[in-house]
């Protein structure tokens, strides 16, 4: 029982990471039908920001996380204005090739800037070790992740549901043309959504440093996971993405524990089956966050 509960918890923590990396992609795919595979590169950028900024500028871990969000959001905004914007009308295949090209460039660029090997991170004391909770021994770092993920999901949900900007975003997901005709500056909404989504990916990368290996191959390793999450969750929905992330996180952790010989095959099998059952994702309801 304790094993199962711990495993569910670890899967949840992993799912939170996937959620923060994937949610921006789900939103931009829902809004401007833009398939940005380079989303994982943005997450890697966040991860490198943490492992570089902590020793070089002596910043505490918690202080680097907002930095990840802001800097990566700015970078994403520049990319959107200079590159992505020109490909909104293009077909899926063009966008996939464009962004996979950017992803390759980021992989080589990271190897050039930070070296090809894994950059370890100095885990602060308050994040290392385990803590007893409800009769289980849980990792502090994972507990922190789950807490951060819950905060993030709640903030995103409320932000989309309750704020003016959230209403604009929902309008653009529903029907960009009609939203534009109502006087909405859709181009600005697109750019800001892209920036927020990219910033969240950067934050996800920053959160990931305690769990995942940050090296130049990070985007290639996690691209498939992020794509699976987005296609299972359905585009344009925050709750769907959250659901799919947690599902994939738990399946991956449980699969590696109970059936190590099957490897990731279980994950791909579930993906294929769900996609055939619901081609538009588990929760495809346009207009709902």
């Amino acid at each position: 029982m304790a094993v199962i509960a711990t495993m569910l918890f670890n899967g949840l923590a992993y799912g939170v990471l996937l959620f923060s990396m994937a949610v921006g992609l789900a939103l931009t795919m829902g809004m401007m039908r833009f398939v940005n595979l380079a989303q994982v590169s943005l997450a890697m950028t966040g991860g490198y920001l943490v492992v570089v900024a902590m020793p070089h500028f002596g910043l505490p871990y918690l202080a680097t996380l907002p930095l990840c969000f802001v800097l990566v959001a700015l970078l994403t905004m520049l990319l959107e204005r200079w590159v992505f914007r020109h490909f909104y009308g293009a077909d899926d295949l063009t966008q996939v090739l464009l962004t996979i090209g950017l992803l390759f460039m980021s992989v080589a660029g990271a190897a050039y800037l930070f070296g090809p090997s894994f950059r370890p991170m100095q885990v602060p004391d308050w994040l290392s070790g385990q803590v007893p909770l409800l009769g289980l021994m849980l990792d502090r770092s994972r507990l922190f992740l789950v807490g951060a993920g819950a905060t993030l999901a709640l903030a995103l949900f409320l932000g989309l549901e309750r704020t003016r900007f959230g209403a604009m975003v929902r309008a653009c997901v529903d029907n960009p043309r009609a939203a534009g005709a109502c006087g909405l500056n859709t181009s600005m909404v697109f750019a800001l959504t892209f920036a927020v989504g990219g910033g969240l990916a950067g934050l996800g990368g920053g959160l990931a440093v305690t769990q995942l290996v940050i090296d130049p191959n990070f985007p290639l390793r996690y691209l498939v996971y992020v794509l699976i999450v987005v296609s299972l969750g359905g585009t344009g929905t925050v709750i769907g993405t959250l659901l799919a992330s947690v599902l994939i996180g738990i399946v991956d952790v449980a699969g590696k524990y109970y059936m190590p010989q099957a490897g990731s095959s279980l994950l791909y099998l579930i993906t294929v089956v769900i996609m055939l059952w619901r081609p538009n994702g588990l929760l495809q309801r346009k207009g709902m966050p």
Binding site: D92, F104, M105, A108, Q261, G263
Partner: protein
């Protein structure tokens, strides 16, 4: 058929001088002293693989992110046949193609109703599953060490596969040519026209009574068979198979080649393979560590400026020089 309709089909069924020059160039390349025959053979295999993807992507508009699965199935089928005593290459090639083709028909049935992201994800998922399985079944596939002991009888009982790749070159070139002739006939047949119709406007084809779903499944199977034959050629000419033939990287590369060369042209795959493999070789030699960066930049450059691919861009240039309306 009225004369007008005839003139619509005629220019496309006749072999034009570019096509003849294309194949003569491959034959002539053999006689140039110092030619890197294994590299050219490699390019032809990639070209054939890309051409088979063109059948479903270029002519039917179905994108597959998992075409390496069929390439790998063909490669392994040829490898196992040769390893367990069936050393005759031509029948081995055919059997490998049939195996991959049947798997393709099955996959086509599974993915027939899907579009866009779901289609990409399912094909990708199936590809990854197969790759994972091949890598883990080390006692069958040899894992990362590959399948050893693939030995082949001489082609037609006459031409032995030599270590310099003379036989391999002519063998692959002939197979590539024969398959191109077949594919060329296929895309110009009523079946091929129906495929193109369904690519442009599926609803309209459906109301015309065309069985578009059955056609798409069949096209998927034929495309998979072509990919399987390309994979079998790789096994037979290198006498080695490793799980890398199934890797996702291969699916992505073949897609890139096809887009570089141009979709819906059959030759686009070959031209794209030539450009991609040569560039890859050059860049990897110049910059062995960071060559990935240049490949990425090339991709961005291509989708930005040459979205139509080399062949379609050239076509437009030629047409505008002749003063024709495009």
């Amino acid at each position: 058929m009225t004369p007008h309709e005839h003139s619509y089909f005629q220019p496309s069924t006749r072999w034009n001088r570019w096509e003849i020059a294309f194949w003569l160039a491959w034959a002539a390349a053999y006689f140039i002293p110092g030619t890197n025959l294994p590299l050219l053979t490699h390019i032809l295999v990639w070209g054939l693989f890309a051409m088979s993807l063109d059948l479903i992507l270029g002519y039917r508009g179905i994108a597959s992110l998992g075409h390496a699965a069929f390439f790998g199935i063909g490669a392994y089928a040829a490898g196992f046949l040769a390893k367990f005593g069936w050393t005759e290459p031509l029948s081995g090639l055919l059997l490998a193609g049939i195996t991959a083709g049947l798997t393709g028909l099955l996959t086509g049935r599974i993915v027939r109703g899907l579009h866009g992201v779901a289609l990409l994800m399912v094909t990708l998922g199936l590809n990854m599953m197969l790759y994972d399985a091949a890598q883990r079944a080390t006692d069958i596939t040899g894992g990362d060490d590959g399948l050893q002991g693939v030995a082949l009888a001489p082609v037609l009982g006459l031409f032995r596969f030599d270590m310099y790749g003379h036989t391999a070159y002519w063998y692959v070139l002939t197979v590539a040519f024969v398959l191109l002739v077949l594919a060329r006939a296929l895309v110009r047949s009523p079946f091929g026209l129906a495929l193109r119709g369904a690519r442009e406007n599926p609803l309209r084809m459906l109301t015309l009574g065309a069985p578009i779903e059955r056609d798409a499944i069949l096209a998927f199977g034929l495309s998979a068979a072509g990919a399987g034959i390309a994979g079998a050629l790789l096994t037979q000419t290198t006498q080695f198979v490793a799980p890398e033939v199934l890797a996702f990287q291969r699916s992505a590369d073949v897609l890139t080649m096809l887009v570089i060369g141009g979709l819906g042209r059959l030759y686009g795959g070959f031209i794209g393979a030539l450009v991609f493999v040569l560039l890859h070789d050059t860049v990897a030699a110049l910059d062995p560590i960071y060559w990935y960066f240049w490949i990425g930049l090339l991709l961005v450059f291509i989708v930005t400026f040459f979205r139509q691919g080399i062949l379609n861009t050239l076509d437009k240039l030629l047409a505008s020089r002749r003063g024709e309306a495009v």
